[in-house]
Structure formats: C-alpha cells, structure tokens
C-alpha cells in the first residue's frame, strides 16, 4: 500500500482501517501525522453531530405504540365506529374547551418556574434560528432572550422562551408545533397568569405574562415584529 491509498482509506472510514493500511501507517511518519489529524477532526465532527435529543422522546414513542395497538379487521371496524361516535360528540363539545391552548401554555409555565430565575441558551441568533425553523421571521428584536428550552408537549416538542422586553417586562413565548387553532386567538387566566394563543408558523404560539396589560403590549410587539410564513 502507498501513501495515496492509505489516505483514501483513512478518509473513507477512519475507524475501520484494513490491516495493510495499519501496517503502512506504522512504517510511515507522514501518514501517522495525517491519521492523527483526521482523528482529531473526526472527534470534533462527532461532537457537532451529537445534537441534544428532546427529553422523554423514547417514552413518547412507546406511549404512541400503546395507543396504536394493532387490531384485527373486526376489532378495527368496531374501533372505527367508536372513533366516529366520539368524534361527533367532540365536535359538539369543542367550543366549551376554546381556552385549551392558552390554558395549557399557562400550565406549562407554572410547571417550569426556573425559567424565570435561570439563564439558558440566551443567544439571540439561536432564538432567530428557532423562530425561523418554526416558521416565523423576526423583523426586529423582541427584547433580551434569557431562557430557551426544548420541552415535551402533547404532540412532540415545543420551544419555551423567556425574554425581557425593552420596557423591562418579562414575558414567555411558547411555540407549539403541529396543532392548528381554528380561532384567531384564545385567551385564558389561571393562577395569576394570563395567556394569549394565536395560530402561527408550524402550529400555534402563546404569549404568557403576569398581567393583562403586559400581555396586550407583548402580543402587539410579537404581531408587529414577527412575520409568520403560511
């Protein structure tokens, strides 16, 4: 084996070198240096590719399996008729739960109080990228981002963002994918928190604050400074 063949093998699969390539490396100082450099780059590459995985992913996969149990054709037909019955009932009941989206957002904030006391991923560019991936383009800054976390939500993962407005007011923005809202907006007040949910991006977003006055201002700010792609 010559140096060219060694380097081709090393670049194609740094961790599985054939015996003749290992023998060549042991005899060739230049190829040993080359191999060390490739291994160093490989370690950096592995660190980059090792992106964080959302918490509870495997459990959500298993939960879905449990609700997706394979049925025999007869049981399938029975299940289909039951689903249809419940769906019709749900359509009649749906309006009663019209504050569901906003209320869920408040409950999420109440279960994560550390979002107001800690700083996490407070990077404006990351926030811009997250908004972009969700389907929103920031036209101007919403304020100083203090906390960002990818959180499990009923249909996947959503972003939990806390930012401080230019007026020094704290607000939470939650981006929930996949769920579509029928209404233009939904508002709820629970436990001293108030939230407004609107359709946008890949699903809907909710703004949560501690006072209705602040909520109105932040909602207006988001509407002015974020352009949602349809």
């Amino acid at each position: 084996m010559n140096c060219l063949e060694f380097r081709r093998d090393k670049l194609a699969d740094p961790r599985h070198l054939p015996p003749e390539a290992i023998a060549h490396m042991n005899d060739c100082a230049a190829c040993r240096t080359f191999a060390a450099e490739v291994d160093e780059n490989e370690a950096r590459l592995a660190a980059v590719l090792d992106v964080p995985v959302p918490e509870g992913l495997a459990e959500r996969v298993i939960l879905r399996r449990k609700t997706q149990t394979r049925l025999s054709p007869r049981l399938g037909m029975l299940a289909a008729s039951l689903v249809l019955t419940f769906a019709l009932g749900f359509l009649q009941w749906r309006d009663v739960g019209s504050q569901e989206y906003a209320r869920l957002a408040i409950e999420h904030v109440m279960h994560e109080p550390e979002s107001f006391t800690s700083t996490r991923l407070a990077d404006p560019q990351l926030f811009r990228n997250v908004m972009h991936n969700f389907g929103g383009e920031l036209q101007a800054s919403l304020g100083k981002v203090r906390y960002m976390k990818l959180c499990p939500v009923p249909e996947g993962t959503g972003w939990h963002i806390v930012f401080e407005t230019e007026q020094g007011e704290l607000a939470t923005l939650i981006l929930i994918p996949a769920k579509r809202m029928q209404a233009q907006s939904e508002q709820a007040t629970v436990g001293g928190w108030t939230a407004l949910a609107r359709p946008g991006g890949q699903g809907y977003y909710a703004v949560i604050t501690q006072s209705p006055d602040t909520l109105g201002k932040v909602d207006e700010l988001v509407r002015q400074r974020v352009r949602w792609r349809s």
Binding site: R8, L11, A12, D13, H16, P177
Partner: protein
C-alpha cells in the same frame, strides 16, 4: 403472548435507538420539530410492520431505512437516492472563524445531502462503508467516494488555517 414479546421488543428498541434516530433525522431534515416527527412516524410504521422484521439483530438498519423513506415521503416527495455518477469536486465556503463548534456545524449543514447522510451514519452510527451502502441502496465504492470527499472538503476548511497559524 407473541404480542407481549413484540411489545417488549419494541419498547426496548425505542429506548435503545430513538436518540440515534433523532440525531440522524435532525441531520437529514435540519429541523428539530421535523426530526421528532420523523422519529415518531418511523416507529409508528415499524410497529405496524413488526411482524415483517425477520432478524431482530438488524432492527437498527431497518429503522434507518424506514426513517429515510418517511423523510422522502413526507418532506421531500422524492426518494433520497444517491447517484453513482461521479460528482464534481466538493468545495465549501471558508469561514472567518473556522474550527469553532458552530462554524463546523454550519459546514456540515452546507454539505450536499448525498455527502452528509453517509457521513452522519458513519460518525454517529459507526457503520462501515458496506453497511451504509446497503442502507442507502448504493455501492460500497460510491459510499467510499462520498465519505472521502466530504472529509476532504471539511478538512480543507477546518485544518488549513490551523496549519497556517502553526
């Protein structure tokens, strides 16, 4: 009884491989929401077809193939076939601060999918070229060529300034 065994097998598989599949999906789609959706859809489809899994030892490559097809079906509307034509030399733009984590991440994102995909499978999954070729439905030689060129392209950008400094 068979159903219980399959359920246990599935749950073990989900716990063992959902993270790896998520990372693979992320680098395929480059979007965290899409990546999770792809993982969910992959396991849902796998569960529907669990009876057709002949060799449980080969479950991970099987899941990767499903995920790849789901990505093509849901988001690309076309298969992610790797062409065996000899591609042009791959060149990536140089960056002001090469080598830093975010810059390297950006360089990987800039790799064409045909290069990025086998690279992710090898670096994260530890697969050999032959195994990757089977998963992607192409030849071992084509995979070797793409991996060599992908690493050459990354190396040209991240290693040269370091050499120049030294």
């Amino acid at each position: 009884m068979i159903f219980n065994l399959q359920s246990r097998q599935f749950d073990q598989t989900a716990r063992a491989y959902s993270a790896d599949l998520y990372r693979y999906a992320y680098w395929l789609a480059r979007d965290r929401f899409v990546a999770e959706e792809l993982v969910q859809e992959t396991f849902a489809r796998a569960w529907k077809n669990w009876d057709s899994l002949e060799d449980f030892a080969a479950v991970k490559p099987w899941l990767i193939t499903i995920l790849r097809n789901e990505h093509a079906r849901l988001y690309e509307r076309k298969r992610l076939d790797i062409s065996d034509d000899d591609p042009q030399e791959l060149e990536l733009p140089s960056h002001d601060r090469p080598g830093a984590h975010l810059e390297l991440e950006q360089l990987v994102e800039e790799l064409p999918p045909a290069y990025r995909e086998p690279l992710v499978l090898q670096v994260l999954g530890g697969y050999e070229c032959k195994e990757i070729a089977e998963m992607l439905g192409t030849t071992e030689g084509a995979v070797m060529t793409r991996l060599t060129r992908a690493r050459q392209a990354l190396r040209a950008v991240i290693s040269e300034p370091a050499r120049a400094r030294s």
